[in-house]
């Protein structure tokens, strides 16, 4: 093999390595692919199917004060209380690990002393719960509720419901001035019926 052939071979190998490296840097890695959630987008009032069951967000309320039993909590931001129904699919399961995401990507989780999970769901039996999130004043508009199918893993490589809570600028302004304390209801059993449907 001539010196010229050697040089060409070397250049081809280097070019192939460079091309491969550039390609790999633009393709998600196996870990990234494995942990990517399966997002199920939805809106208020629409049923969303997850691996572990079906959820329906019924609505949102906001205030600077929330109350559950003898506990009252105030905030300098806003309490956003999301009311939802849940019907487990095939096995008993609990909705936990819910978060609210603001439009700019900030994540707000549920906090003690209030309930942090929507009870234990029984297959085919709908339960209802209201979950309080403490948000910064500017996080109401465009907020989304994120509900992982299971607490373990927080939705990594699993189903996640991504519910647009329908808070536009006008709604956010109305919610932002609400100061009437919101009562957080305990988890209640609605009964055996299709979520969003009739018995």
């Amino acid at each position: 093999m001539t010196t010229r052939q050697n040089a060409v071979t070397g250049l081809v190998v280097i070019a192939a390595l460079a091309a491969g490296s550039a390609l790999i840097s633009r393709v998600p890695g196996p870990q990234e692919v494995a942990l990517a959630p399966f997002l199920h987008a939805g809106t208020v009032g629409a049923p969303i199917h997850l691996r572990t069951g079906e959820i329906v967000v019924d609505g949102v309320q906001a205030s600077t004060q929330v109350r559950q039993g003898a506990i009252t909590a105030s905030t300098s931001g806003h309490w956003l209380v999301v009311t939802l129904r849940y019907t487990a699919a095939d096995t008993p399961a609990s909705l936990a690990g819910m978060t609210v995401q603001s439009r700019d990507g900030r994540t707000y989780s549920l906090a003690r002393p209030f309930q942090s999970a929507c009870g234990v769901g029984q297959p085919g039996v709908t339960i209802a719960c209201s979950m309080p999130f403490e948000l910064a004043p500017d996080a109401l508009e465009g907020a989304h509720l994120r509900v992982p199918a299971a607490l373990l893993g927080g939705g990594e490589g699993d189903d996640i419901a991504d519910v647009d809570l329908g808070i536009d600028a006008a709604t956010a302004a109305r919610l932002a001035v609400a100061t009437e304390p919101v009562r957080i209801e305990a988890v209640t059993v609605v009964g055996a019926q299709r979520v969003g449907g009739t018995p």
Binding site: Q122, G124, A192, P199
Partner: protein
């Protein structure tokens, strides 16, 4: 006459075919493929099998046996218990519990029999329907006026004489006080949609092992 140009040129015998030249490696490839497949099953062995119900001890009559080692127990311990299904009947209410709309409360009466030295606290009792749906004791029941559903997590041992227990590290804590009787009743109350019909009861202390008895 040969068609191999090299052989024609040198006047030698043609080279053996590629398959013939590599036959040893090709034969060795088969067990290597089998070994690669076995090695790739580590997730099943180390993750899926220990966390799913794959080791059923399914009875055909009203009495069955649960026999399985207690994972991580110190000293090593085996759960060996005989379980008899006494009855399973649906009701509109059970004690201070009322069934939610469109559901019935199934009362499952079992009888456990085991050596007093076997740790049996913390079991789970579930009903299964023909479609494979699993119904537990904790969900689907409205909270009674007392504010607490005492049937949400049934004790699988007598309250006064529970027998040995396990601490968080798996160490067996010997029983104190009176000895547990040789057999005792266990009651589970499970909410099921009216349209559902359970076909079996499943008893376990966590996957992968479980005992299953058919409902009459």
């Amino acid at each position: 006459m040969t068609s191999d140009p090299a052989a024609r040129h040198t006047g030698q015998q043609p080279l053996p075919s590629w398959w013939r030249r590599n036959r040893v490696a090709l034969v060795a490839l088969l067990p290597m493929l089998a070994l690669a497949l076995a090695a790739s099953s580590f997730r099943y062995v180390s993750i899926y099998r220990p966390t799913t119900f794959v080791a059923g001890q399914v009875a055909t009559g009203s009495t069955g046996r649960f026999l399985a080692p207690v994972p991580g127990a110190e000293p090593p311990t085996t759960r060996d218990v005989s379980i008899t299904l006494v009855s399973a009947t649906p009701h509109a209410s059970s004690g201070d519990l009322g069934a939610a709309k469109g559901t019935r409360l199934w009362e499952v009466e079992l009888e456990f029999a085991a050596d007093p030295g076997v740790p049996l606290t913390g079991c789970t009792i579930e009903l299964l329907d023909a479609a494979g749906q699993v119904y537990g004791t904790a969900g689907g029941k409205p909270v009674p006026a007392t504010g607490r559903d005492r049937t949400a997590y049934p004790a699988c041992v007598p309250e006064a004489t529970p027998g040995p227990e396990l601490d968080l590290d798996g160490r067996v804590i010997p029983a104190t006080g009176r000895q547990r009787p040789a057999s005792w009743p266990v009651l589970a109350v499970i909410a099921i949609p009216t349209a559902g019909t359970p076909v079996a009861v499943r008893i376990h202390w966590g996957p992968p092992d479980y005992a299953q008895l058919p409902l009459p």
